[in-house]
Amino acid sequence: MKIVLQNLTKKFPNRNKKVKGDVIAVNDFTFEIPDGSLIGLLGPSGCGKSTTLNLLSGLLKPTAGKIFFGDDDVTGLPAEKRGVGLVFQNYALYPHLTVRQNIMFPLENLKGADKLSKEQMNEKVLEAAKLVQIDELMDRKPDELSGGQQQRVAIARALVKMPKVLLLDEPLSNLDARLRLQTREEIRRIQRETGITTIFVTHDQEEAMSISDLIVVMKDGVVHQIGKPQEVYDKPVNLFVAKFLGTPPINVFHGKVEDNKLYIGKDVIFDSVNVDNKEVYVAIRPEGFILKDEGVLGCNLTGVEVMGRDISVVSTHECCENVAIRSIIDADNMVNVGAKQVRFDLKPNKVFLFDKETEERIDYQL
């Protein structure tokens, strides 16, 4: 099912009397989600991603704008008529019901022509349980399950009625690091097997990048960029998107362009860029550094973190916004830990320029 959001806006009345006007949680969203894809809504806390999810589920009514499922306008439709499956952050499993009863609950609500016989229900429940691999735990109560198992039950409950759209609210935030890795693969697998258009909300960029077909980066109720994860990572539209994606985070320097030369401090980084003279932000991905004795950028070395496969060189620079510059270097490189200075060459495709005022990315050629 294709989903289209058209100028979707949600305002909440302001509780803080000192500030005039409403709080705009979701501001004029327009985008299209292709059928059968897995979408990650990504942004820092309070950026409106959960509100967007609630608007899609029908639990909240938009202030303005429209939502289409396929060709049907569902904006005015209440939650129960939309046919969405929703998995809550805390799973919201009914504690007094067994796993089987929990998964069966949505089926028992069906009325009229959709009503199922007991056998059909049992069959569907088992099918959903097998899909998420919890068919051995059917008679347990939720409090007898681990977090990961509860998560699966919640997904099975959302899937059992074959929703047109599956919505997941921070599906992995309650799991430990190992389980998180495993579960996100699982979500991807389940989504592929069922082919249900799935939208999930997360503040963890790694999570979103790793399993999504498309990611939507949001901040303060505004969509900043929509695209394939790699595309967004390689071509961030503005400084916020560049900063938000990637671990360790991107290193941001204050720089300037003068006579087609790009400066960070006194160092000339690139000597022929086709950009007009102005102040810019120079953002360099950690993997964009190449260790070289006569490299273009000199930094004050503070330490080296060994991570096995590669090493992370930690240094400082007076023009850098970050407290420490982190550069990821192949472990084969030797770093003289005693040295005060370290010099890098830079990979041009990992260096982005952003306008100082608008913070938009500036396309440049060497």
Partner: protein, 296 residues
């Protein structure tokens, strides 16, 4: 290890002394009195030991009347008051405007003095030389005949007592139930809503099980409270409850100790032990049932 035990006992001394003196000792004493025939508290003497006191009490028509009254009261008021309180609480939680006002209004009987409330009920129900009471005026208005609720037929008096009891116990139950309802996580309702659950099914399948521990707490304490009913009957029918056929078990015990026919601590003790046995049995049954139906 032993040293720490001694310390623990030392800390417990005040509580043990207090409870022992004012709770355990009297309890044992009552139990002993109930087997001592013709005990006289002034001279501290008795004729013999045996079960005569029990046999007397169980054959006393006043006690049987009190037993019957108490049982009727319990069976009618506990389910009714809990049910109505649940209805009102659910209603209260589903409205937004004026909720606080309604909560206050429903809570008023709880802070009002029992005897003052009794007076109000007198005005509602009592027949005097000047009027037949407010309720009778209503009955007359609908074309019925006046009923003497305070000195009239048994069923009328019982109706007033039950009505009064329900009205008095309701505020506490509403208070407890509204807070229980408020503590149910909103997400369960949202999840049910997304799944297209009907309002009635949400109530039956989610709300009720979620508040079932509170509900059973109210039923159990309701049973115990109703078995101990006394002051309500006094407020309505005066102190001579035996004559009004409206005595309760606790009233009977009181009468046996201090009433006009009083001065029989042995009979009072026997009646008290019988009441204790009944309450214990019913509470045990309640707990057994609740184990099956209360979740968590």
């Amino acid at each position: 290890m032993e040293k720490r035990n001694a310390k623990a006992w030392l800390y417990l001394v005040p509580a043990i002394l207090f409870l022992g003196f004012f709770m355990v000792y009297p309890l044992i004493d009552v139990f002993i009195y109930s087997f001592e025939e013709g005990y006289n508290s002034a001279s501290q003497t008795f004729f013999g030991v045996g079960t005569y006191n029990y046999s007397y009490v169980l054959h006393d028509p006043y006690f049987l009347q009190a037993l019957k009254n108490t049982f009727i009261l319990v069976i009618i008021t506990v389910p009714l008051s809990t049910g109505i309180a649940l209805l009102i609480s659910v209603g209260l939680s589903s409205i937004k405007p004026l909720r606080n006002l309604y909560q206050t209004v429903y809570f008023l009987p709880y802070v009002t003095n029992t005897l003052a409330v009794g007076l109000v009920f007198m005005i509602l129900f009592k027949k005097t030389a000047y009027s037949d009471g407010l309720i009778n005026m209503l009955i007359n208005w609908f074309g019925g005949n006046s009923v003497d609720f305070i000195d009239g037929p048994y069923w009328a008096k019982m109706f007033v007592l039950c009505f009064y009891t329900i009205w008095v116990v309701m505020p506490f139950k509403i208070l407890i139930l509204t807070s229980a309802l408020a503590s149910v996580n909103e997400e369960y309702y949202k999840a049910a809503q997304v799944d297209g659950t009907s309002k009635f099914r949400i109530f039956r399948k989610i709300t009720l099980p979620m508040i079932s521990p509170t509900l059973f707490y109210l039923v159990i304490t309701g049973f115990i409270g109703a078995f101990k009913a006394y002051s309500d009957a006094v407020a309505l029918f005066g102190t001579n409850l035996n004559a009004a056929e409206m005595n309760t078990i606790v009233g009977y015990i009181y009468d046996m100790l201090y009433g006009d026919s009083g001065g029989y601590p042995s009979y009072a003790s026997a009646a008290a032990i019988i009441l204790f046995t009944i309450v214990l049995t019913i509470t045990c049954i309640n707990l057994l049932i609740s184990k099956k139906h209360v979740h968590y």
